[in-house]
């Protein structure tokens, strides 16, 4: 099965490594043009018609999400997005926010389209060619990317992070986890819904759209562990999960965990930690 990897700077090595597992021959191209959805769809279409691959592989980046489904639809196909394992003709992807995995089988003729999840394949070196599209008109007119005001909180430097999710239920309950953070000398962080609701500032958000952290210990409290959150904290040395749902995906990445009501577990944990503070560390 011939494979075409369409790469951008982000995830290029992973995409190429996955493409090599998926079939041969493998060709890898980056598109030599400023990004817009229209321009890249047209350019990738031209490239695919030239290379004529059976399978096209992307990294599951925000850019891919912006144009690859459109490109696949142009070929009458659905992009099998965000796959975590597998190879043709069956790929594995998460569904229901990570509560289930699904084996998804390709049907019909190629070209088929797959995007791989960040971190799911080990990156290798990439012999990439650049493809210059013959024309690239676009209805989207992009402006320069920007960042909002500098982050007041740098979670990337924290040794211990206590991160809180939907399980906290109400803003008024935040002191429960704040007490844990205080007892541990930890930074307080949150999953996206907590920051969306304005309960904690955006610069305390961990995940694909927030900060990527790698502390010594990461406490995920009332966080189910959707992939958008996991990509931001998978690098933590020790992950501790506290959740009432034993099937929460967070337990899949946890080194330690407690299944239980956070409103009972966290105060108990704070008591235990305070006790140890009076005993010298081992």
């Amino acid at each position: 099965m011939s494979v075409l990897a369409i790469v951008e700077q982000r995830m290029a090595g992973e995409v190429f490594a996955a493409a090599q597992e998926f079939g041969s021959p493998v060709s890898a191209f980056s598109i030599d043009h400023p990004y817009t959805a229209d321009a890249y769809t047209a350019a990738a279409e031209e490239l695919i018609r030239k290379v004529n691959p059976t399978l096209v592989v992307f990294g599951h980046t925000y850019q891919t999400r912006d144009y690859a489904p459109k490109l696949a639809a142009r070929f009458g196909r659905v992009l099998i997005s965000d796959v975590i394992a597998g190879k043709p003709p069956v790929f594995v992807r998460q569904m229901f926010q990570g509560k289930f995995n699904a084996d998804v089988r390709l049907a019909g003729d190629g070209p088929h389209f797959v995007s791989i999840q960040a971190g799911a394949w080990r990156a290798g070196s990439v012999p990439v060619e650049t493809f210059s599209p013959s024309s690239a008109t676009s209805r989207q007119v992009p402006e320069a990317p920007f960042r909002e005001a500098a982050r007041a909180v740098d979670l990337t430097a924290a040794d211990i992070i206590v991160s809180v999710g939907r399980g906290i239920k109400e803003k008024e309950n935040l002191p429960v986890v704040e007490a844990l953070a205080r007892a541990l000398g930890a930074e307080l962080a949150a999953s996206r819904p907590i920051c969306d609701a304005g309960w904690l500032p955006m610069d305390r958000q961990v995940g694909s759209s927030g900060q990527t952290v790698a502390p010594k210990v990461y406490f995920a409290v009332g966080i189910s562990g959707a992939i958008q959150h996991l990509v931001g904290m998978k690098g933590a040395k020790t992950v501790v999960a506290i959740n009432k749902d034993p099937n929460a995906p967070i337990f899949e990445v946890a080194h330690y965990g407690i299944i239980g009501d956070l409103f009972e577990v966290v105060p108990a944990l704070v008591e235990e930690i305070k006790k140890t503070k009076s005993i010298p560390p081992p």
Binding site: S81, P142, R147
Partner: protein
């Protein structure tokens, strides 16, 4: 302006989910359903744009008979009318096809939908709609600003970066969760919704578009984490056990 919002009905967030007997999807009997959360933000954005610019908000959903309930809830929040495309398939491209067909007849100025669904999570319906309707589109939108004949959006990029993009109307946008504050339906809204129109579109199989290019063969719980030490039972005992492990095994406390 005429704004259409494509919404999906998904299982209630807290539902305990089980795989069906065939092992290919979840068991839907006895499940409660609600609007897909990102779509709720798309609806809210549409309602706010209508408040600012006038016009009409149409909600459209593809799915079995039960989706009319979710459409009704959207009407209670303030949408003007609904369209229910009665279709059983899960295939993203087919769903987009029937939605596109129904939307073509409406020719809205703006089409909004959530960036992804909480069930399949493909994150594609809006992007495909743009392609099928021949409209410009953009994804993961944090802000929508209507200008004469154009729309200027703030698109989210990775790692805290953003970008403004301008494109002509009509356009299709996929909306990021959290860009606005969701409203609740008022009692008056719920009452009014009872008399609002939900147009039912039924299709024969042939009208559903091409054969699926990807099929869910098997749905299953992810393999259990072998390394994790997970405690349950009495919270105090579990907390003591955890602290001991963190102190003497992981040596992080």
């Amino acid at each position: 302006m005429k704004i259409a919002v494509a919404i999906k009905q998904v299982p209630l967030r807290e539902s305990p989910l089980r795989v069906n007997a065939a092992g290919t999807w979840i068991e839907e009997d006895n499940l409660g359903f609600e609007i897909n959360e990102p779509d709720a933000y798309a609806l809210e954005e549409a309602l706010q744009l209508r408040e600012k610019h006038g016009g009409e908000v149409i909600v459209i959903s593809a799915g079995p008979a039960r989706v009319s309930q979710t459409l009704r809830e959207a009407l209670a929040k303030g949408a003007d009318r609904g369209i229910h495309v009665d279709i059983a398939t899960l295939d993203t491209l087919r769903v987009a096809n029937v939605l596109a067909e129904a939307l073509r007849a409406e020719s809205p100025d703006l089409i909004l939908t959530g960036l992804q669904s909480d069930d399949l999570g493909y994150g594609q319906t809006g992007v495909i709609l743009a392609e099928l309707l021949g409209l410009p589109g953009s994804t993961i939108i944090m802000q929508v600003e209507i200008k004469p004949g154009k729309v200027r959006v703030k698109r989210e990029l990775e790692d805290g970066w953003f970008q403004h993009i301008e494109m002509p109307l009509p356009a299709v946008l996929t909306i990021q969760s959290g860009l606005n504050k969701l409203r609740y339906a008022t009692l008056m809204g719920i009452k009014k919704a009872k008399t609002k129109e939900i147009k039912l579109i039924t299709l024969d199989g042939a009208a559903e578009g091409p054969q699926a290019s990807a099929v869910i063969e098997k749905l299953y719980a992810p393999g259990k984490n072998q390394q994790g030490q997970i405690f349950d039972g009495d919270p105090k005992a579990a907390a003591a056990k955890l602290v001991e492990k963190l102190r003497f095994e992981a040596r992080v406390l």
